[in-house]
């Protein structure tokens, strides 16, 4: 940890944040915001939070920016100046920000020094996770074991949050009452041709590798940074890439929105279903160790590891489909026909 | 003093509430519907009378329906005071039911089913107040009565009814929520209980200032008693059909108001406490102002029902004055006046309604010579007026006599003067009505000299109540006994 480096990133981050708030052009603001996310992700890697950084890179700097761009594309790009009550509005905002700022700063005096190994946060709960992850769950990536097992219940709802977000976007933006046949993408026509062939070719090469990598991230999350969320976002991003470089319809031939909705429900269902299975078998909810009785040739500890893999797959499925769903709806204004 | 546990007080209150169901069910068949009303009335009366021997023997009847929370129960207790009020109310319900049938049918009123239903609910609430064993139960039924009477007051559903209904609720609910409720909570806070006790429960719990505040909150909070300046709703509520005015605004609602004040002053504060803190004077002043001012206003009213309404306001304060005197005779007189005034005043209202039914006249100035057209009604009117004024041989004399004795016992000569001058004013606003009805030349008379009375359903009840008014002069015993028993239980 090099504080100069740290400081530089933070300073740049503040500048980017300020810029994205004050730029009049929303497109630029969105892109600067993407840069801001990327800086944050650097910062977190630098602090050792690789999983967070990975997720932020995929979610914050990646798909979020795409969502922003798609939304700006469909609405207005230039921020209109406010007509009246401008100063007052600014003053209120400034006052609130300053008030909360002072409040928060006043609390920092009591905080233990940054990165102090003897701070309560580093001595109270975390030693247990660090020392016990291997003996209790057999998973070396502590973030994964905490995420999917020790605090697996949180993560289940986190997946549910994603599911809700997708469903919400569909129900707010979606054109309603479509049946399956309405989704049938029309054959790829000449409207696809106007896209650059270079981009299309590049995409054609990229996408398989992306998806393979995504599967690796999901499967190898026990041993390296990554897991269901990151893998799911990358999978989703591969579809979004197809949609951007070709056309929404081309993408929908691979993954229909309706089927994506089904997958997303299925994903969370896998997660909570595994939990419920443990319940039915007589253990507590999400207590995977009981699963060793039905999984072939495993001990309770390995059953935990496998259980985690199961839920990660569920997470990945949901996250992937929801990313696609949100993109499809935002990019096509809910019509899921043409896209950007 | 023996205490009997019996479900009878609950049944007595509930019977008319239960009767609402068959009344609504048989809404399409008026005769059956009114049959239910009568049946309920008779059962109620029977239940109440069946409890009388126990009470007269000096016992009480108790029934705890439901303990809502510690110290807060829905409970019934029948004692002399409640019994007295319940007998009056249930007797008059029978009379009024009969009268209602005549009045409502002859006027061809709409929504009669609704009318009879809420009438029954109102009666349940009245009996509930009479038999309440604690302030909470009393408050519950008091509010129930406020709500049940709203559709009755606004029965006509026109603009005038709307305005009056609004005024009615503003006064009644405003005071009960704004004054009685906090006062009740304060009492609970100070004593931890709301049970009525003959000796009062507030003694020795708080300072005199707080007691005075509570006293004023209760006295003005029970705005149904029409103590000035909170009397405004009463004349306004006269837009209701006459039977409603008769039962509710001469008997049930207003009497529930004074009954509640009476109950709270004697069973929450306690006569002894009021005496030691010397609060009788305050009450006397409040009561006598209302008595005199209301009588004076009544003089200037031309509408018969409005004149009766102001008369009622004045008479109600007699009862409050009875408590204020804090002497045994005064208390007895106050309680007796609940009964005596009820019979007298309801007769007067019935007469006003009968006149309206028979001739369509509402104003006194239009009633010159009406005695020749409706002699029975007007004779009854005379008897009613005499009772209200307090002239023998009517029941009103008995109660006024005790009140006058009470002023002497309490050595409050100004109050004696107030009572006597009020009686004169009463005479001044009632007797001319009678006088003009009979004693006029044929030219002055506004009616043909042919006897045309109102329908029999209207006339019979008013004859009955007038007869009872006279009867009570000669045989006031049951009421007198009950009142004396109640006063004894207050340690007066």
């Amino acid at each position: 940890m090099i504080w100069q480096f740290d400081f530089l990133i933070l300073a740049l981050g503040v500048i980017c944040a300020l810029a994205s708030i004050s730029l009049k052009d929303l497109l630029s603001a969105a892109i600067v915001f993407g840069a801001y996310s990327f800086l944050m992700c650097l910062l977190w890697t630098e602090m050792g939070a690789v999983d967070v950084a990975f997720t932020e890179a995929a979610v914050g700097a990646g798909v979020s920016t795409v969502f922003f761009l798609a939304a700006v594309f469909h609405t207005s790009r230039i921020v209109q100046p406010r007509r009246r009550g401008r100063m007052l509005h600014k003053l209120v905002g400034l006052a609130a920000a300053t008030g909360i700022g002072i409040l928060l700063i006043s609390a920092t005096a009591d905080f233990p020094n940054w990165a102090n190994p003897n701070s309560p946060a580093s001595t109270h709960l975390s030693p247990f996770y660090i020392t016990e992850t291997i003996p209790l769950t057999g998973v070396p990536n502590i973030v994964t074991s905490v995420l999917a097992d020790f605090r697996g219940f949180d993560t289940m709802f986190e997946t549910a949050v994603i599911f809700v977000a997708g469903l919400a976007v569909v129900s707010i933006l979606g054109r309603y009452g479509r049946r399956l046949r309405d989704y049938e993408p029309s054959p790829v026509g000449e409207d696809v041709a106007h896209q650059s062939p270079i981009i299309q070719a590049a995409c054609r090469i990229f996408v398989p590798f992306m998806q393979l990598f995504a599967l690796y991230v999901v499967a190898h999350g026990h041993h390296s940074p990554g897991g269901g969320f990151q893998g799911g976002v990358i999978l989703g991003a591969s579809f979004i890439l197809v949609a951007i470089s070709y056309d929404l319809r081309v993408m929908q031939r691979r993954l229909q929105e309706r089927r994506a909705m089904l997958f997303s429900s299925l994903g969370v269902l896998i997660y909570s279903g595994i939990g419920a299975l443990c319940l039915l078998m007589g253990a507590n909810f999400l207590d995977y160790s009981i699963l060793h009785t039905i999984l072939p040739a495993t001990s309770p500890i390995m059953a935990r590891s496998h259980g985690m893999l199961g839920v990660e797959v569920g997470v990945a499925l949901t996250v992937m489909s929801i990313m696609v769903i949100i993109y499809v709806n935002v990019a096509s204004y809910g019509k899921s026909d043409r896209g950007l | 003093m023996e205490t009997v546990v019996s479900i009878k007080p609950l049944l007595a209150s509930l019977v008319s509430l239960v009767a609402v169901i068959p009344i609504v069910m048989s809404g399409k068949r008026p005769n059956l519907r009114e049959g239910w009303t009568f049946l309920a009335g008779v059962i109620k009366f029977g239940l109440i009378i069946s409890m009388l021997p126990v009470i007269l023997a000096g016992g009480t009847i108790q029934y705890n329906l439901w303990q809502v929370m510690p110290g807060l129960a829905i409970a019934f207790k029948v004692d002399g005071m409640g019994m007295l009020f319940a007998i009056v109310a249930s007797t008059l319900w029978l009379a009024t039911s009969a009268y209602s049938i005549g009045y409502m049918r002859s006027q061809n009123e709409h929504s009669q089913t609704r009318y009879f239903s809420f009438f029954a609910v109102a009666l349940s609430a009245t009996i509930g107040v009479a038999f309440a064993a604690n302030l909470f139960t009393l408050y519950l039924f008091y509010e129930m009565l406020s709500l049940a009477t709203y559709p009755l007051v606004t029965h006509h559903q026109d603009g005038e009814a709307r305005a009056s209904g609004r005024k009615y609720l503003t006064y009644i609910l405003g005071t009960s929520i704004g004054l009685v409720l906090p006062a009740m909570l304060m009492v609970f806070h100070l004593t931890g209980t709301l049970d009525f006790s003959g000796a009062g429960i507030l003694a020795g719990t708080t300072s005199k200032t707080v007691i005075i505040c509570l006293l004023l909150m209760f006295v003005f909070g029970f705005a149904k008693a029409g103590i000035m300046p909170l009397q405004g709703w009463l004349p306004a509520a006269m837009v209701a059909p006459t039977p409603v005015s008769a039962l509710l605004h001469a008997v049930a609602v207003v009497k529930v108001g004074v009954f509640s004040i009476f109950r709270v002053l004697t069973f929450i504060f306690g006569v002894e406490l009021l005496r030691t803190l010397d609060l009788g004077g305050v009450l006397c002043v409040i009561a006598s102002i209302t008595i005199l001012v209301a009588s004076l206003i009544a003089l200037s009213q031309d509408g018969l029902k409005r004149r009766l309404a102001f008369s009622t306001i004045g008479q109600l304060s007699y009862i409050v004055l009875g408590v204020a005197l804090l002497s045994p005779s005064g208390l007895t007189g106050g309680l007796l006046h609940i009964a005596m005034h009820a019979f007298g005043k309801i007769t007067l209202f019935f007469c006003a309604g009968a006149i309206f039914v028979a001739t369509g006249k509402k104003n006194i100035s239009e009633m010159v010579g009406i005695g020749k057209r409706m002699p029975v009604t007007m004779i009854a009117f005379l008897i009613g007026s005499m009772s209200v004024i307090g002239i023998p041989p009517t029941g009103g004399f008995i109660s006024k006599w005790h009140l006058l004795l009470g002023t002497l016992e309490a050595n409050r000569i100004p109050m004696l003067v107030v009572l006597l001058s009020s009686s004169l004013l009463n005479a001044a606003y009632f007797l001319p009505v009678f006088y003009r009805a009979f004693f006029c030349t044929d030219e002055e008379s506004m009616f043909e000299a042919k006897v045309v009375e109102a329908p029999i359903w209207c006339v019979a009840p008013l004859v009955m109540t007038a007869a009872i008014s006279v009867g009570l002069f000669f045989y006031p015993q049951p009421f007198l006994d009950l009142a004396r028993m109640a006063v004894r239980s207050m340690g007066g």
Binding site: L103, S171, N284 | V68, I177, M186
Partner: protein, 496 residues
């Protein structure tokens, strides 16, 4: 097969699993949605009632998620307070779900599967918030409830969209404040488990960081519950939401947030800290007083029936917050009792509003004309709810107000007592104005003047829950002593 120890988790898991099944099945045939929703919430209700009985018999229940011991794993704690709130939440959701059938088909014909999935997930979120013993888990569930809520409100289209957007911004701010507060507690104590934090905290009471944590968490809860003056988002959001949404959200969101505030105060920060160390007791009671008075006055100014109800919610929030911060046993009892009562009362009023919208296609006060004659049963049930809001015995509203006022007297906070009485009076004015409007015929029909108006009751699926709720209001009132002695008195922290 499933032992009683598992009941607490079933309350949450049944609706959670069902939500996804509803989404899948609803995608095939939308007729599945309604019965599946009822089944899910019915199951959850059964589990909640069973849990309530367990708590009443055996005391507090702890449940370890994934078998991990707290504070390392996430723990469910069902104590006397949230056992009660859980039942109320599921009950309200169940009733709202039954009543939703007609209005959903009418107002959201093309979004039925989405609606019911979100509906059940929102209930799950609220239940999860209520039952959890982990400060961070609470945040996640808060977000579930919030996101579903935004979507359900935005389904109302038109004005609901802007209201929903404001709600997104403000609601996110509230949730983030809460999260920041948890962060402050975490950095100081190193723990996320509520009971653990409560244990560690006393020796940190003097620090600024804990103070800030308390402020942030309370602010978060207040924003979520629309505590005056942070109430700006609520009225429009609830008014323009679809009927079926508002009858779920309006009774529950604010009440669960009040519960969260109580949770944070007593189970995380500790009663000693919030009442003895923080010097803000009086200030907050004053704010609550202002909330009650402002909410009542705003309600008086409304011509829109639903909007009027929403301002009443703002006032009611003042009741509960004020009651808790009176810091007397009576006041806290009253506040908790009022959570229960107010949820049911508000449900009654909003179910009625849904019926009005269904029958008259609007929710202005003028839409209510002549309803007494047209829908006597509906109006009778509404009257019970209204009387409860006013606080007429023996309805539930009277008894919670009773405790609140006694608490105010105990604490000597007379301004709060006066505000409660004032609000009762205003409620009386408001609801009697409605009774008056509904009692008189519309101008045009006035000449008819007979029993000619045909009875035109609401459909059974809307009427039945309304009547059940009205009966519940009276039962709650009659049993309030029972509720207080069995549950609430154990939930009041000792020694205040």
């Amino acid at each position: 097969m499933i032992s009683p120890e598992q009941y607490p988790v079933l309350i949450v898991v049944i609706p959670l699993l069902s939500a996804f099944l509803i989404s899948i099945l609803g995608g095939m045939d939308k007729r599945f949605c309604y019965p599946a929703t009822l089944l899910a919430l019915g199951g959850s209700l059964a589990a909640a009632v069973a849990t309530l009985c367990l708590v009443a018999d055996h005391g507090i229940i702890h449940y370890r998620m994934g078998g991990w011991a707290p504070p390392f794993g996430i723990e469910y704690v069902v104590d006397y307070l949230n056992a009660l709130v859980l039942v109320v939440v599921v009950f309200v959701a169940f009733m709202a779900a039954i009543a939703s059938k007609v209005s959903v088909e009418e107002e959201l014909p093309h979004k039925i599967p989405q609606f019911y999935t979100l509906f059940v997930l929102l209930t799950t979120g609220l239940l999860g918030m209520t039952i959890t013993g982990d400060a961070f888990n609470l945040y996640v569930l808060m977000e579930i409830a919030a996101l579903t809520n935004y979507a359900l409100i935005a389904m109302g289209r038109k004005r609901a969209l802007m209201a929903s957007f404001n709600y997104v911004v403000i609601g996110t701010m509230g949730a983030c404040f809460y999260l920041l507060g948890v962060g402050h507690l975490y950095i100081m104590t190193g723990s996320l488990n509520m009971a653990d934090i409560l244990n560690i905290l006393p020796h940190l009471y003097g620090t600024n960081a804990i103070l800030v944590a308390a402020i942030l968490m309370l602010m978060g809860a207040w924003i979520k519950m629309a505590f005056f003056p942070m109430h700006g988002w609520l009225p429009n959001a609830y008014t323009y939401a679809p009927s079926a949404t508002s009858s779920l959200v309006a009774p529950l969101m604010t009440k669960v947030s009040v519960y969260i505030m109580i949770r944070v105060m007593f189970s995380v920060l500790g009663a000693v800290y919030v009442f003895k160390v923080l010097p803000v007791k009086e200030l907050i009671v004053w704010l609550a007083t202002a909330a009650i008075i402002a909410g009542s006055l705003f309600a008086l100014a409304q011509k829109d029936f639903k909007k009027m109800l929403t301002y009443l919610i703002v006032a009611e929030v003042g009741y509960m917050v004020g009651g808790v911060w009176l810091a007397t046993a009576q006041g806290i009892t009253g506040a908790i009792l009022h959570i229960v009562n107010d949820a049911v009362m508000t449900l009654c009023l909003f179910l009625f509003a849904a019926i009005v919208v269904h029958k008259t296609k609007g929710h202005q006060l003028s839409n209510l004309q002549g309803l007494f004659k047209k829908m006597p049963i509906t109006m009778a049930a509404f009257a019970v709810g209204a009387l409860s809001m006013i606080g007429v015995p023996p309805t539930a509203g009277f008894f919670s107000k009773w405790y609140l006022i006694l608490g105010g007297i105990d604490a000597g906070q007379w301004q709060f007592v006066v505000a409660l009485l004032f609000s009762s009076l205003v409620n009386a004015v408001l609801f009697f104005r409605i009774f008056e409007i509904a009692y008189y015929e519309p101008e045009s029909a006035q000449h008819g003047h007979g029993e000619s108006v045909a009875i035109d009751e609401a459909p059974l699926s809307m009427l039945l829950p309304l009547v059940v709720v009205a009966i519940t209001i009276i039962l709650l009132g009659l049993y309030s002593g029972e509720i207080v002695t069995t549950f609430i008195q154990h939930a009041v922290p000792a020694g205040i």
